[in-house]
């Protein structure tokens, strides 16, 4: 592992910080994000609640007093009361209208490194002072940023990236069926896309520390707007329903022998979630690497490489519900425990 020192980019960094503040003040998205001061909390629970609704997410945060686990529960519960109209056309990450796109694999990439609105460059200290007013006027832009190809596209074209073989005619839907082991890749990806950010971060972190060997490079991280489209029921033509904020990440792991032809290729992982949530998407891509290539884990048994572990322990609503159910009256079962304890004590003591 190594890093390369770079310099420059002061103007871009200032513009990035400024744009981040502007985004949270409501000046960047306008009506696209009606509750800007809660933008990232709204994004987080829409992803964990698996329901994209900015209005209801805002309401859920209010109802839950700011408890995001509880707020995600509101969304998940509401989702279950709604009829499903159908399935939207697939989102292609290359079609995302990018607001931010960076790569740690290559310095020079098609479309460039675009910092976008980011808190990466903020000093995390409270300040009574007003923001310094730094801002790069729009006129200083070099090229418009819109749809950008993946920064890993060239490696793919050259056949340097492994394509794991997956046989699934259509994606598994964990909201309709309970998946059985061995879990289809699409079921695991769906579970992770709606997983709880903290849980996913913790499991991904195990793989980086003592229980695995995934230490990837971010190949392509992008935040932006993705179109939701379906078919007009009366004309039969494609129609756009709207746009949603999303985060997508491709990470590059180590190289491995490709079982398809025995050649050495790079392994990659993918993370995707509703809203702007880089930490979750990066954690998901690390877990994807660990799950798809368990050999990265020490003894192939690290927690992040266990599909059972990930499938059953990252859902915030489920784990919060199970944990909190211990508050419910357990008078009868506890009486039984006490009786067992009394007998054991009699024999033991």
């Amino acid at each position: 592992m190594s890093y390369v020192a770079v310099k420059g980019g002061i103007d871009a960094i200032r513009a990035s910080r400024s744009l981040y503040r502007k985004m949270l003040a409501g000046g960047f998205f306008g009506d696209e994000a009606p509750h800007p001061t809660q933008l990232l909390a709204i994004d987080r629970i829409m992803s964990e609640g698996a329901l994209y609704s900015q209005q209801l997410a805002r309401q859920a945060i209010d109802e839950a007093g700011g408890d995001l686990l509880e707020a995600a529960f509101y969304l998940r519960a509401h989702r279950s009361t709604c009829r499903r109209a159908g399935v939207a056309d697939p989102i292609e990450t290359g079609d995302i209208r990018c607001m931010r796109r960076i790569s740690a694999t290559f310095k020079d990439i098609v479309g460039g490194q675009v910092l976008g609105p980011s808190s990466d460059y903020l000093v995390k200290l409270f300040s009574r002072e007003q923001p310094d007013g730094e801002y790069c006027p729009p006129g200083s832009a070099q090229t418009p940023v819109q749809r950008l190809p993946s920064a890993l596209g060239e490696l793919r074209k050259q056949g340097m990236i492994m394509v794991p073989e997956v046989y699934e005619e259509s994606p598994f839907d964990i909201t309709r069926y309970s998946p059985q082991s061995p879990y289809p890749r699409s079921a695991l990806m769906q579970m992770m896309a709606r997983g709880e950010t903290g849980a996913m971060l913790a499991f991904a972190y195990t793989s980086m520390r003592g229980y695995g060997d995934v230490h990837p490079t971010i190949g392509d991280l992008r935040l932006g707007m993705a179109e939701v489209t379906c078919t007009h029921p009366f004309t039969g033509n494609r129609v756009r329903v709207g746009e949603i904020r999303v985060t997508a990440v491709e990470t590059v792991g180590a190289f491995k022998k490709d079982p398809a032809d025995g050649k050495l290729r790079l392994a990659t992982g993918f993370g995707f979630c509703f809203g702007f949530n880089e930490t979750k998407a990066i954690a998901m891509s690390i877990l994807d690497l660990a799950l798809t290539y368990p050999g990265y884990s020490i003894g192939e048994s690290g927690p992040a490489a266990s599909s059972e572990m990930i499938m059953h322990h990252i859902d915030g609503v489920e784990s919060m519900g199970f944990t909190n159910h211990f508050k419910l009256p357990h008078y009868v079962t506890f009486q039984a425990d006490l009786q067992t304890y009394a007998r054991a004590k009699k024999h033991h003591d």
Binding site: L51, I91, P137, Q142, P164, S186, C230, G242, F274
Partner: protein, 140 residues
């Protein structure tokens, strides 16, 4: 820029002035026979994502939408708008049906065009602000 299709309405009218959309739908209601076949209903659309690693697909979650179905002079009209927005959904379904029927088509087109222009300007401004954060680091 000036081309508007019927499919554009569902997209663009969500970004038009809501009061103007409601007003125009009311005007259609006064001129034409409007039957509501499906009152505004909250529905979800499952979002699927193309997986660049395996070239497969997976589901990432659902989008909440409000959809309505009407008939305007016997022509079906439909709208599916983002989030919980019953009034806008019903008004847009009426305008979709009116477009199919040829009723008030020019005014509907004008409203959609205004929204299209406003979106173009908004996205242009966003793109410029984002492009100002493009960076070219130098290796040390």
């Amino acid at each position: 820029m000036d081309t508007i299709t019927r499919e554009d309405l569902n997209d663009l009218l969500q970004e038009a002035d809501p009061a103007a959309v409601l007003r125009l739908a009311e005007q259609v209601g006064k001129r034409a026979t409007v039957r509501i076949l499906q009152h505004p209903t909250q529905e979800t659309l499952m979002v699927q994502v193309n997986d660049p690693i395996t070239h497969g697909r997976f589901y990432s979650g659902e989008v909440l939408a409000t959809s309505s179905v009407v008939q305007v002079n016997g022509t079906n009209g439909w709208a599916m708008v983002m989030d919980d927005n019953p009034e806008l959904s019903l008004s847009m379904a009426i305008l979709d049906g009116a477009w199919g029927d040829g009723c008030r088509k020019e005014q509907i087109r004008e409203l959609a065009l205004q929204a299209k222009k406003a979106r173009f300007l908004r996205q242009q401004r966003q793109q410029a602000e984002v492009a100002a954060t493009a960076v070219k680091f130098d290796l040390m």
